[in-house]
Symmetry: C2
Subunit: 247 residues, 2 copies
């Protein structure tokens, strides 16, 4: 119906003529977007070697593999270097946040724990890798973002390299944040940046002090109202990336 | 923990001293964000009379109602007039799309059926009203967006008033769309606009022709990659509204 040829992430090294065995997980993902027939085209990528054409091969009733044909696209150069600090929120909403961030082109995901939230939620690394792969396959992106282990809020700020901007998405009227869409124009030359979004309930007074005291931190506002973490994250990431990749 | 006083949408007329009986649904929503105790503050709004302070009253073990105290905020003037044409996608993703759009400040939601998608999904009006109310309560917005009945794609375009821009979010490289964030600057005086986002699979060739032939339609791109409907919608709506409401 849609005419889109599915993209599939694989871990194998890709070369013309190789046969890719499908993991249960890959098979499941492929089946959710297409009917597997002998000769159906699938585009495969491994995050390092660009995009390759392959065809479904059926052997007997149960053995499905992919025959790799040729490279269609080189691995893209990294155009952005955007780190998103991800608050630990409810798992389903966290999944949405990560999925949208990867679709939009974030390069590094760093979960963090802060005063308001994160106490009872955990970071399920393998689940999140699945979300990341699904978002890459869906969006056509070929660069695998780095997925880091959770940090404390303090370690996020201590580790921030002040030569690059860290945009702290704050509630309107807090911390004198300028509107994000206006700030974009000031950084049109920059490719490297970070964005931090708060959990439900935002940041604590102590955390706001950290933002004020550290260098290279730019408080920004996304509007007059309160956005959920995933909405704020998508808007901030989307505005930044689309203003970098645009022409 | 977060210190936010919950907002609750009610249908009643609000005046000082009135007692608001809570529907099962309102009770459920309140209980999901707070422990109901005698004297807890709840802010109530009905979409017409601004924001009012009220307090929880308990009578016996089972009767909970709200005592309305005084008005805290006037009903805001309508700053934007943004219509979002909503593709019929999978129910859960549709809910996310609508929720984020309302948080971000859309004024009118018009579901539509198009060639790629919408065949098997329906618009559950009462479920969507619940999603809308939840998003208003969470974001602090006081204006109830209008929720319309589904239209066909053709009726959306036939009904479009060409004095106002309709931004059609197209895949990159299709229909010569300019980057949305660049287009914003051309319309800084305008408050009335519409945005249309495609379903999974985008728009058909015939639908693209409609976009080209009608007046007042601006094809826009949100970036080089393929975004899911809800991600595209949030980014386009968020960029438009935050560039209107910003200061």
């Amino acid at each position: 119906m849609t005419g889109h040829i599915p993209h599939l992430y694989v871990e194998d090294i890709l070369h013309s003529g190789s046969a890719l065995e499908l993991t249960q997980d890959s098979l499941h993902r492929l089946r959710s977007v297409m009917r597997l027939r002998e000769g159906s085209e699938v585009r495969v990528f491994n995050g390092r070697q660009g995009l390759w054409r392959s065809y479904v091969k059926l052997e007997g009733r149960h053995h499905v593999y992919l025959g790799v044909d040729c490279a269609l696209k080189e691995q893209p150069h990294v155009m952005n270097d955007l780190t998103l600090y991800v608050p630990l929120i409810k798992p389903q909403r966290l999944g949405n946040l990560v999925r949208q961030a990867v679709e939009l082109g974030v390069n590094r995901l760093v979960p963090f724990r802060s005063a308001y939230g994160g106490g009872s939620y955990t970071w399920n690394g393998s689940r999140m890798e699945g979300v990341v792969v699904g978002a890459l396959e869906q969006s056509g992106r070929l660069l695998l973002p780095e997925v880091c282990k959770p940090l404390s809020f303090e370690d996020v700020l201590r580790g921030h390299d002040s030569r690059y901007p860290l945009f702290a998405c704050l509630e309107h009227g807090v911390g004198e944040g300028r509107m994000m869409w206006k700030v974009l124009g000031d950084f049109l030359q920059g490719r490297k940046a970070s964005i931090i979004v708060g959990p439900e309930g935002g940041f604590s007074a102590e955390e706001h002090e950290w933002f004020q005291e550290r260098e290279g931190i730019h408080p920004v506002s996304l509007g007059r109202y309160i956005l959920r973490s995933e909405t704020a994250s998508s808007l901030a990431v989307g505005m930044w990336i689309s203003s970098r990749e645009g022409f």
